[in-house]
Symmetry: C2
Subunit: 362 residues, 2 copies
């Protein structure tokens, strides 16, 4: 309870700084973060003196149960969301009203403009996303549970990663095992890519059968009470060609180099560069086409970005992935992904799953 | 292959009518529909003489494999999507360019404006969504498979719907069984609501254990090759109070009344009213708080809407749900949901799963 009150207090401080009387929060993750509401299709108005969730009849009962304990109000709309917001903005006499420019569509903005004619509507830049970058204690706890559910789920799935099973079989088993470990669902569509298919960073599982002597890349995560985890491991079935082993060790080395520089105050792009430099030395820089990582929380991909062009500084409470990878069309790909938490001093790797090359399955 | 060419041809006819030289397609389902690309974070530019997918390095290899067969091009962007689009719009000399007003955010629109200064940018109203309302033969085939996977998945799950198991146990088993039946995943978070929890139309599964003498509402669907199904059934465990039985029969009657009026040329709101009138006669109109149904295809909820205020006319090739439901806080809820396909003559109910009250499990 205290968490949500603190979040609203921080947001209101930002609104004062921006000289706004109220904010229309339309991003569903932001709505959840600020209200505790777990449904969708609903918008939150945060004014100076009140926070009101605008929802529809499907959610009225649920919304009340979820947000009343935090002192929020619920309005069941009869017409459009914009019209209901127009009435509320009038009620609270808000003259300067912000909306989320990276979430509100051009159409929604037009409806808002029509519904609140005497109001100065202004796009805001990721105000709530900025707050969400720093996880509070309850969030860290839930992310830890999402990491555990993913790891234990994969551990229970390992016995079924055998030659002859399909990528889809492995994904089905992994989803089931994560749920048995307390996950509500996969955090995102599980990637299971055998052999050369791993050269596609976002391959979706097919009916292709896993063969002896090849690698299987698994990128998976659990969603648990709306928080996510995101991990990647590569498994080797039987005798492995030496080029795989060599490249695997390079990716692991790049990841270690990145983990080593993580601490508060460091620029996120410095962390990205630490890994990138390892690939550069091996003339593999072009094979590492994506960023090193991304924040994880209510969304699987959220702030901070950890890539060449990101301008954030690490702060205690940030949780993000460290996932160097190299890809070779027709050959395959290797990625190793862990999640880390920036602490007041140093960093904690939240993931425990083994990643030495020797964890070969038969 | 022919499908995608036909879709692009139809879209270009709409663009000519709208006096647009090109359309920026940012909705990922629309991108998929028009290009065959199965990734995300990518935008499609449909110009008169070319269709170009703007993607990033994670997807370049995959995008080529997926869209080259249809004659589309791929651009791997180095900077922002908007900048890459600006270059392309210049290359094709497009002066009037549409974007998707119900998908493009206010921020993205601003970036587009900055990246193409001499271009007249204009929001369009659900052009591609309009095409998607009418399913072509290959889509109908895939939706049928998604319906089958959902139904067979539930059938295999039935033996585990027993007193003592939790809502989450049932959801985990159902997800697994749907995947075993060929689904890529659940179409949406499975709803399993025991007893009074069914009064929340969008309840998410909890650790609550199913008890004898109560009802369990399951709202579930399969996603299969990006197409979805969406069904609801209510199961009764053992001896059931007569009020449940009575209300169940009323919902079934409302659904039959709606199914009876479905044929091409009928207004969707007329279908909604047919069900609503049954509830009105029983003074239950207020308990049916949502619309009767919605289109299903690449998205679980898409056009046409089937509710009091929808102004569409039924056309052959439309697929939508028919899902009357009544809800009583603290008591529970009953919803029966099937999917239908409008034919040249009459209607086909795509779902086969039994819905007579007598399908009680022990």
């Amino acid at each position: 309870m205290a968490d949500i009150e603190r979040r609203l207090r921080k947001l209101r401080a930002l609104l004062r700084r921006e000289k706004l009387d109220a904010l229309i929060v339309s991003n569903e993750h932001n709505v959840r973060y600020l209200s505790g509401f777990t449904g969708d299709d609903s918008v939150l108005l945060v004014a100076r003196e009140a926070a009101v969730l605008v929802t529809d009849s499907r959610y009225t009962e649920q919304a009340g149960k979820e947000v009343f304990p935090y002192g929020l109000e619920v309005v069941e709309r009869k017409k459009s969301i914009a019209e209901a917001l127009g009435v509320l903005v009038g009620k609270y006499g808000a003259a300067g009203v912000g909306f989320e420019g990276c979430n509100a569509t051009v159409d929604f903005h037009k409806h808002l403009t029509d519904a609140m004619k005497r109001v100065a509507l202004r796009p805001t830049m990721r105000l709530v996303e900025g707050l969400r970058e720093i996880k509070d204690a309850s969030e860290v706890k839930t992310v830890r549970r999402a990491v555990r559910a993913a790891e234990e789920g994969l551990r229970s799935t390992l016995p079924s990663i055998r030659p002859g099973v399909t990528e889809q079989d492995i994904a089905a088993e992994l989803e089931y095992q994560m749920r048995k470990q307390g996950a509500d669902a996969s955090a995102f569509p599980i990637i299971v890519a055998g052999g050369e298919r791993a050269s596609l960073p976002h391959a979706r599982p097919t009916k292709r059968r896993i063969r002896p002597g090849e690698a299987v890349l698994i990128d998976w995560g659990a969603r648990l009470e709306f928080y996510n985890s995101d991990l990647t491991r590569v498994f080797f079935l039987g005798t492995i060609p030496s080029d795989w082993k060599k490249r695997y060790e390079i990716v692991l080395q790049a990841q270690r180099a990145a983990l080593k520089v993580i601490r508060k105050g460091v620029m996120t792009k410095t962390v990205d560069r630490a890994a990138r430099d390892v690939f550069k030395k091996r003339r593999l820089a072009k094979r590492f086409g994506h960023g090193l990582g991304h924040g994880v929380g209510l969304e699987v991909h959220e702030a901070p970005g950890v890539n060449r062009s990101s301008e954030s500084k690490l702060k205690p409470g940030m949780i993000f992935t460290v996932e160097p990878g190299i890809y070779f069309p027709e050959w395959g790909g290797i990625r190793i992904e862990d999640m880390v938490l920036v602490k007041r001093t140093g960093v904690e790797v939240l993931t425990n799953f083994e990643k030495q090359f020797n964890q070969v399955v038969i």
